[in-house]
């Protein structure tokens, strides 16, 4: 089980089969893409705020370049940032450690999943360099636009394959293959390799959430891959799956896309909720409120996630009677999350809260996500959605769900598990600065967009000169505030990089359990060696036994303590 042998540099850092190093690889790749995606956003927001700005490298944005940046910003942030960081990096790091395993069930498969992921990232970047530029069809890739853009039906297969849109489809498909391999590992590891004595309800909530997210992903991704292959065929083999003139149907793609696309939201959200539920008890020294019910609610939301997809298509011409069902289901999905959010808030009462950086990020997630949650009701109401669909209201809404999940959830996890991963502490002061500037950034960027969206500002427009009502002074001011907010959000992340560098050079030693936490990973050394635990740990109780009066001497009771 615990083979502590020396590894060469190459096999330790590059071709690593160690889940902890694969997690780092995913994380670093995700961070690189986050900076690219963020810069794309700042570029096109600059065009919106100050039309005609000359942007370094890209130049002045015209409609095509603007669409290309918008498209790739969305794709990068979802598939090459949120997925690798929240699912792959977090899952790889915490799952084996928290269940007391020495590694993933299939370490080689794990390595393969990362390298396939890297190939998908390379393909994505390659798609921007193809003749005609990257795909500019919005991240949803709706045909017929996405089936015909830069495609010449008379040219050969190779010419049409070497276009932004086709390579992008390949990149997305390869990325999903990678996440599927990773997902198999997550599920098999959690089911088979739990420490002796660890019952399912003793598994920490964050692991539960990661598994639910993985299962949601695995069940939903098939239809999308089928849809993407048909789209690729339309592009390179001149088939007509989505061409109405040849008996195809463009709406078919939307169903296949959103049957995956909506569960995907929960694939990102559930791990973040798990992180918050995991961290809040540690820093309030109190058991997680209604932990079992939180898991039950999360399971139910993971089911409901499969019957809400058409709320993305309310105005897309689906049968209006069907839309009523999806509207009700969408609004109902607020129930499990209401429970989880209020249960997390209930944990805070009568506790002993220490506002360390991981706790700030976890609470920040709760506060910011609540804004995204309540505004989801507006979007889920079909009757109201037919007005705000494709407007900046929706943009603001999903940035208030995805930024809290990806960045607040992600950073909460990062600040919390960094000492375990590296054996060093991160600076508290810089961490707090990073947190507060990020809070200012997200709110300054997203909140004003609710108002312009309500006024009817529709999105993906590179220049509003043709719409005089959208050139009113207050809307232009909103564009300025929002763009500056996005820049602050981006700049705040530099504080994070600085914090990392300082910690690497002169970070305080962390010790085994700096947060006095219960879960099994804190029984291992920091950083855990290859093989994780010196002796395989056993599990004697649930993960949230804080301030238990039966335990004398300390306010926590580790799972591994007899």
């Amino acid at each position: 089980m615990s083979e502590h042998h020396e590894q060469s540099f190459l096999s330790k850092y590059v071709f690593s089969t160690d889940h902890k190093y694969i997690a780092r690889q995913y994380f670093l790749t995700g961070v690189v893409f986050a900076f690219i995606g963020g810069l794309f956003a700042i570029a096109f927001r600059s065009q919106l705020a100050w039309p005609g700005t000359n942007i370094p490298i890209i130049g002045v944005l015209d409609g095509m370049k603007y669409n290309m940046l918008v498209t790739n910003h969305g794709l990068i942030m979802i598939f090459w940032v949120a997925m690798p960081i929240l699912l792959a990096a977090l899952g790889n790091f915490v799952i084996p450690l928290m269940i007391g395993a020495d590694d993933m069930a299939f370490p080689l498969l794990n390595m393969l999943s990362y390298w396939i992921f890297l190939v998908s990232g390379v393909l994505l970047v390659a798609s921007w360099l193809m003749p005609g530029g990257g795909a500019a069809t919005a991240w949803t890739m709706y045909p017929p636009l996405s089936a015909t853009q830069n495609v010449d039906p008379d040219a050969g297969l190779i010419v049409n394959l070497l276009t932004g849109g086709s390579i992008l489809i390949l990149a997305v498909a390869v990325e999903f293959a990678s996440m599927l391999l990773g997902g198999i590992n997550f599920v098999v590891t959690t089911i088979n390799m739990r420490a002796k004595g660890m019952k399912l309800m003793d598994v920490p909530v964050v692991v539960w959430m990661l598994i639910l997210a993985t299962v949601d992903f695995m069940f939903s991704v098939g239809p999308l891959i089928a849809g993407a292959v048909m789209l690729l065929f339309d592009r390179i083999f001149n088939t007509g799956f989505y061409d109405p003139a040849r008996g195809g149907d463009p709406i078919l793609f939307q169903h296949l896309f959103w049957f995956f696309g909506h569960p995907e939201v929960y694939v990102i959200l559930l791990p973040a909720i798990g992180v918050a539920s995991e961290i809040i008890p540690v820093f309030s020294r109190k058991p997680l409120f209604a932990a079992r019910w939180q898991i039950i609610m999360a399971v139910s939301s993971a089911f409901i996630a499969f019957i809400v997809w058409a709320h993305h298509q309310f105005v897309a011409g689906i049968d209006p009677r069907m839309a009523e069902f999806f509207s009700v289901a969408t609004i109902i999905i607020s129930i499990p999350f209401t429970f989880i959010m209020f249960a997390n808030i209930a944990t805070l009462f009568n506790s002993q809260i220490e506002l360390k950086t991981p706790m700030l990020w976890a609470l920040g997630f709760v506060f910011m996500f609540l804004i995204g949650g309540v505004t989801g009701i507006y979007c889920g109401s079909a009757g109201f959605d037919m007005y705000i669909h494709d407007s900046y209201f929706v943009v603001a809404h999903f940035h208030y769900t995805l930024i809290p999940a990806t960045f607040f959830g992600g950073f909460a996890a990062f600040y919390f598990w960094f000492p375990k991963s590296t054996g060093k502490m991160l600076g508290e002061g810089l961490g707090k600065l990073h947190f507060w500037f990020t809070v200012i950034g997200i709110n300054m960027f997203s909140f004003p967009l609710f108002f312009s969206g309500l006024y009817g500002e529709h999105r993906r427009i590179f220049n509003y000169a043709a719409y005089q009502p959208m050139m009113a002074d207050w809307i232009i001011n909103i564009r300025h505030i929002s763009t500056i907010g996005a820049m602050i959000l981006g700049a705040a992340q530099l504080i994070f990089v600085l914090n990392l560098i300082i910690s690497a050079m002169s970070g305080e030693k962390a010790g085994k359990n700096p947060w006095k936490s219960n879960t099994l990973e804190w029984a291992a050394e920091s950083p855990p060696p290859h093989g994780n635990f010196a002796t395989p740990p056993a599990c004697y109780r649930g993960p949230y036994e804080y301030s238990n009066p039966k335990k004398s001497g300390s306010d926590f009771w580790p799972q591994s303590e007899q």
Partner: protein, 237 residues
């Protein structure tokens, strides 16, 4: 406090009402959640020698407040669902639509809107229909107070018919004709935009809706008839 645009149709005020309902209910719960969270945090900050209460929340007596919240939220959800269904069905579901006084076909094409009016026979989808395709200056002329059925379709890629003041949007889909309706309540000239990304010039796909009196409308259609189709480009299916 109303950020919604001025209403130009009979269904737009419904959007406003729905907004007020959702705004009221969600803002209430938002304040409850924020209030509880801040109260919880500021009354529980770490004190020297203080001890947290050991509450797992697993028993109903401990968690009943959360359950009460959940049940009340379910009630609010259904309230919103019912109002939503009312607004939705009045615009979208054919059985609930008012009887139309006239029909106009609307065609989206990269990157303009085109309009087809009934010809002399007063019926749409017949041989003598007259079309208007006038680049981005083309106007959709509608008579005030009349229920006009809009038959929305596209000639190439997806577009979306969107007039803010009408309070709804509808995607235009090649190969399908979707019927929505509007009863304008105010005269004026307002923007008709495309709200679904349709290519590089999506940002300039703006036409006009002109709402006029019935007399003016009749004159307009007659002028179209006598000029025999002001089409600049062939109309899509």
């Amino acid at each position: 406090m109303n950020f919604l645009p001025e209403a130009y149709s009979t269904v737009a005020p419904g959007i406003s009402e729905l907004f007020n309902l959702i705004f009221g209910l969600t803002t209430f719960w938002f304040i409850v959640a924020y209030g509880a969270a801040f109260y919880g945090i500021f009354t529980s900050l770490k004190t020297k020698g203080g001890k947290a209460k050991y509450i797992t929340g697993e028993s109903f007596s401990e968690s009943k407040l959360v359950w009460i919240v959940v049940i009340l939220v379910i009630a609010c959800d259904f309230w919103i669902d019912i109002k939503t269904a009312h607004q939705w069905s009045s615009v979208e579901i054919e059985a609930d639509m008012p009887k139309g006084d006239m029909d106009i076909k609307i065609v989206g094409r990269q990157f303009q809107w085109e309009f087809v009016y009934p010809g002399k026979d007063g019926k749409l989808f017949t041989e003598d229909d007259v079309g208007v395709a006038d680049g981005n200056d083309g106007e959709l002329v509608l008579p005030i107070g009349k229920v006009t059925k809009l038959h929305i379709t596209s000639a190439d890629v997806l577009h979306a018919f969107f007039v803010r003041q009408f309070g709804f949007k509808q995607d235009a889909i090649p190969g399908r004709v979707l019927t929505r309706w509007v009863q304008p309540t105010k005269e004026g000239r307002i923007e008709l935009t495309c709200a679904e990304i349709c290519g590089p010039n999506h940002g300039t796909m703006r036409n006009w809706v002109k709402i006029v009196s019935q007399d003016e409308f009749d004159k307009y259609v007659k002028s179209l008839n006598s000029n025999k189709v002001a089409m600049l480009t062939p109309l899509g299916e």
